[in-house]
Subunit: 333 residues, 2 copies
């Protein structure tokens, strides 16, 4: 396992995860329906039930800084990321545990504000915070584990996509990345644009209802959330499904378009690379797509957005060009 | 909530946890049987099943240092702590997720060695590692969440103790603390003593079988693990049960006795203050104690060890003296 990984700087996160997967795979019981590699793992607490579990770690200086974000929003975002992973399995959020590492420079009131943000997102997603752990740490560190439940017939994973499937997302992309730029670089944009972008960055809305709606359809063959950017996450969906994809059109959030133009980037490229939007990516049987997207629009009052098609050849291309994964990779930099 | 906590340095971990509990308690559904405050939370995935979940965060420089412990053992201990919390509910370990924050100074091979330790403990406890997260972090940080399952009738919590109950532990205490001193201060003790103590510190054995055995008895009225030291944890059991306790005798591990004598500490005090032994503390109906302890000894080949009695008056005393909580508190120092 270690031989091809001799140069730490050349490691990609997915390579490290694959090596770790091999190490821990030895001890998996038959109660585990799906282990490492999807948005969440699945197990079978009883014959007629499936539970899912996911975990995320957020580290100050890596995922967020205190300058960019109030404590309340740190908590909100951390919880949102885990709720989103539960939603991406088609599951209903049930409970979460929260471990927090607290540096001496964070006051109790700031810590409580963080928990208020966690609790506010949890209340919105109807997920109960049932336990946790507190520790001293050199920087603020959050690790959340979230559990959800789903009917066995509704479970969605990344690997179900087939060539020909339509790839769609539950909303336009790039808003969170735009919000990060607004917060960090204080870009001069229209107040409304700035506010919308900041909101998308600081208070993202995981697509729980959308995930459950899509999970109930047999024509949705694969689903995951878009937390690391469409280019990176669609590549993961394709790899899991044993196929590739052509991206035809990237739906760009309004705020993202304005910010991209200001910094001189192509809006679609900007949106492709933007992580933490928490929209869901789905692969849908092509014949079923028109009807499903109509039902989705009727139910949620906004459209399901087509981004492309799955294809037999591996890799993700943008129209004709091969697309580099431009999203977040913890080990590549 | 924040008023009595104005002075951060005066905060005890339990005070902070209580304040946080209030913040997050708002959003708890009826599916949650038990939330924050015990070794693990309990929920009901279906009518005839109970699941438990616990989480722990371990931070380099706070809970461990690389000098004191090989990477394999860091992984082993981190997993053991979570397995122990599951065992303390009377549950069978089922699965765990692992989030790891990795500093640049940890090589992939060291990281994999950490995961080998996690996997080895997991295999021993028959717990499946089903997912996780990797992040950059300034110091090595581990956050594990573990899930277990237990028959509804066998669930044990901290709050069931009643005055008159016998308090017992599943093994002698202080060995992990002795091992820490051996590792840190290179004390000159007999090789066998040093090895046993180091082993207890680096490769603790959570009491899964013992927990399930004790959980099956209706006469065991409260159970928890002794991860922060008997003086601290028995106080928690008493507070949850609305009573107090008298400690009559602290069973001291062999290695702990030798080390305590060498550093001039009373062996029983030494053992009282020593955390991370992962023995279970139980409150047992007094009439049932003799028979249960015989059955325990017959089953495990070693005795259940009586340490004292629960009493109506609050607080934990050692024989006649009030006992200060001498275990670990993240916020007290």
């Amino acid at each position: 396992v270690s031989a091809p990984l001799a140069q730490p700087r050349a490691l990609r996160e997915d390579d490290v995860v694959a090596a770790i997967h091999e190490i821990v795979a030895s001890a998996t019981s038959r109660r585990i329906v799906l282990g490492i590699g999807d948005d969440a793992a699945i197990w079978q607490p009883s014959r007629s039930h499936r539970s899912v579990i996911t975990t995320d770690m957020l580290v100050e200086g890596v995922h967020f800084t205190r300058e960019l974000m109030p404590f309340f929003d740190m908590g909100w975002r951390a919880m949102a990321a885990n709720v989103s992973d539960v939603a991406a399995m088609g599951a209903r959020p049930v409970l979460a545990t929260i471990a927090v590492g607290v540096p001496e420079t964070v006051s109790p009131d700031e810590l409580f504000e963080l928990y208020r943000g966690l609790a506010a997102m949890a209340a919105r997603a109807k997920i109960s915070v049932v336990g946790g752990d507190l520790s001293r740490a050199p920087v603020l560190t959050l690790a959340i584990a979230a559990v959800g439940e789903v009917r066995p017939s509704n479970v969605k994973v990344r690997s179900g996509g087939r060539p020909g499937d339509v790839v769609a997302v539950t909303g336009p992309l790039g808003a969170a990345r735009a919000g990060l730029l607004v917060a960090r670089d204080a870009l001069t944009v229209d107040d409304d644009v700035a506010r919308t972008a900041l909101d998308a960055f600081r208070r993202p809305q995981p697509r729980v209802a959308e995930g459950r709606f899509l999970a109930a359809s047999r024509n949705v063959r694969a689903m995951m959330d878009c937390s690391d950017g469409l280019s990176t996450d669609l590549d993961r969906l394709c790899t899991a499904s044993g196929c590739g994809a052509v991206v035809e059109c990237v739906p760009v959030a309004d705020g993202a378009r304005a910010i991209a133009e200001q910094i001189g980037e192509d809006p679609q490229s900007f949106a492709l690379a933007g992580g933490e939007d928490f929209e869901l990516i789905v692969a849908i049987r092509a014949q079923a797509y028109p009807h499903l997207s109509l039902r989705f629009a009727a139910h949620f009052g906004r459209p399901l957005l087509r981004v492309g098609r799955l294809r037999p050849q591996a890799g993700v291309s943008w129209r004709e060009d091969a697309l580099a994964r431009s999203g977040w990779d913890h080990f590549a930099r």
